[in-house]
């Protein structure tokens, strides 16, 4: 039956850059699905342009980036810039993967709202997204 629906939380889970390790991204995508989110999964090796454009077309509330290549500063900076150009500077962006702690603060300065390192319980990510999307 059709009934009026609340806006579902839509999250883009993307893997920008060149590393090919997507198990973490898949675990998170699956957990978000089970939390009732609509997860748009882009697959591996996305360019920043592809990520930003997918975020726009899918009108997502949040973007989760998984980066294990070490190129997180450059990739994130570029993606944040491209999102702003698309008038999406205010959507929630979170990061996961292998990110050295000393980069957390600089990433937050770029506009990233949270960095989830290895071992983060998925429930923490879910709660964070739920309480921070507009």
């Amino acid at each position: 039956m059709v009934s009026e629906q609340e806006r579902k939380i839509r999250v883009l889970v993307a893997k920008p850059g060149l590393d090919g390790h997507d198990r973490g991204a898949k675990v998170v995508a699956r957990a978000l699905r089970d939390a009732g989110f609509e997860v748009i999964y882009t697959g591996l090796r996305q360019t920043p342009e592809q990520v930003a454009e997918a975020a726009l077309q899918e009108d997502v509330d949040a973007v989760g980036l998984s980066i294990l290549s070490g190129a997180h500063m450059r990739l994130t900076e570029e993606i944040m810039k491209l999102l702003k150009e698309r008038d999406m500077g205010d959507i929630l962006v979170v990061l996961g993967g292998i990110i050295p702690e000393e980069d957390y603060e600089p990433l937050k300065k770029l506009g990233v709202k949270a960095v989830f390192g290895p071992g983060t319980p998925t429930s923490e990510i879910i709660d964070f997204i739920k309480s921070h999307v507009k």
Binding site: V2, D34, Y41, G43, E49
Partner: protein, 325 residues
């Protein structure tokens, strides 16, 4: 809140992709506000050639759609894609993975791809898929490809939406009886045997051909059966040509008018049916009345047909007191 609906519609008609995306999310709420937006958009639609791509899970629909986008882009056509994946019946969540196969077009401004969760609809599309297609049409896409949920035997809602239905199948799913069953095997304007490099493709070809020839009805369009290997692109050019041929056939035979009327009628029927049902649940008072009737049906004090008549009567004439126990 962002810009109001009217502004979004104006932006959409100027080709603004962000406005299109936001209107799609609005459409998915199925709210009165969403319908207000579609009312404004509708006069600007009807130009796109809507192509449905359906078939079982894993048959290669997304990969084939990716290759079709490529073909249509070679022809300089603007392409919209709506890809539907199932929503969980338990949590309402969904993992929408069709974009993975099409990501090379993410940055092509002539292509707009939108993923949708089916959100409880069982016919292979989501309730709002029609509206998302309308938005792509109004955005100026000349071709709109709709990829259904992985379909089994009876998910045939795509015929209410698409002018041309491409039905994908793959070798070794079953015997020849599968090809003469009612349901999905009846809806293809074009049959595609994908993964045609696998064993059993020739046999499937003969089975489909035989099944199509068993019909006694004289048809003006004989559905072609094509073989493709979507992953390598083999046969996709021929498929794009067959899609174009089908469109030309509809136009030249005049069947395009019946095709359109059939789809409009089906869409209107669905809207009326669903609006009716929704009215039962909008107001607490109506919900209460509905549940009272449910109780009576469960306890055999009332049969379901009489209960339905009472509900309909009350919706048409809200003031009638229908307590008849």
């Amino acid at each position: 809140m962002g810009p109001d609906t009217r502004t979004l519609v104006q932006q959409l008609l100027k080709g603004n992709r962000r406005a299109a995306a936001r209107l799609m999310s609005l459409a998915e709420t199925l709210s009165p506000e969403a319908h207000t937006a579609i009312k404004q958009i509708y006069p600007h639609t009807g130009k796109a050639h809507i192509i449905g791509v359906t078939g079982p899970p894993g048959s290669g629909k997304s990969t084939l759609v990716d290759k079709l986008i490529h073909e249509f882009r070679q022809q300089k056509k603007r392409v919209g894609v709506v890809a539907v994946d199932p929503s969980s019946p338990f949590t309402g969540g969904a993992l929408l993975g069709d974009r993975i196969r099409m990501s090379r077009f993410a940055t092509d401004k002539g292509v707009f791809i939108r993923s949708m969760g089916s959100r409880g609809s069982l016919g292979g599309l989501a309730w709002a898929t029609h509206d998302v297609v309308r938005i792509l049409d109004a955005l100026g896409k000349e071709i709109v490809i709709v990829e259904t949920v992985g379909a089994g035997q009876a998910e045939v809602d795509i015929i209410k939406l698409a002018e041309t239905v491409v039905l994908l199948t793959v070798p070794r799913l079953g015997d020849d009886i599968q090809t003469i069953k009612a349901g999905i095997m009846e809806i293809g304007d074009i049959f595609v045997i994908n993964k045609a490099d696998l064993d059993g493709a020739d046999r499937l070809y003969v089975e489909i051909q035989t099944a199509l020839n068993l019909g006694e009805r004289e048809q003006s369009w004989e559905p072609p059966i094509l073989k493709t290997v979507a992953s390598s692109g083999e046969g996709v050019e021929e498929l794009a040509r067959a899609i174009q041929d089908h469109h030309t056939h509809l136009v030249e035979s005049g069947e395009i008018k019946q095709n359109l009327e059939r789809r409009c009628a089906a869409q209107l029927e669905t809207i009326v049916e669903q609006s009716f049902i929704r009215k039962l649940f909008v107001q607490a008072e109506e919900r209460e009345h509905f549940h009272q009737l449910v109780q009576k049906v469960c306890t055999r004090r009332l049969d379901p047909y009489t209960a339905a008549e009472l509900l309909i009567l009350r919706l048409i004439q809200p003031r009638i007191e229908s307590d008849s126990s």
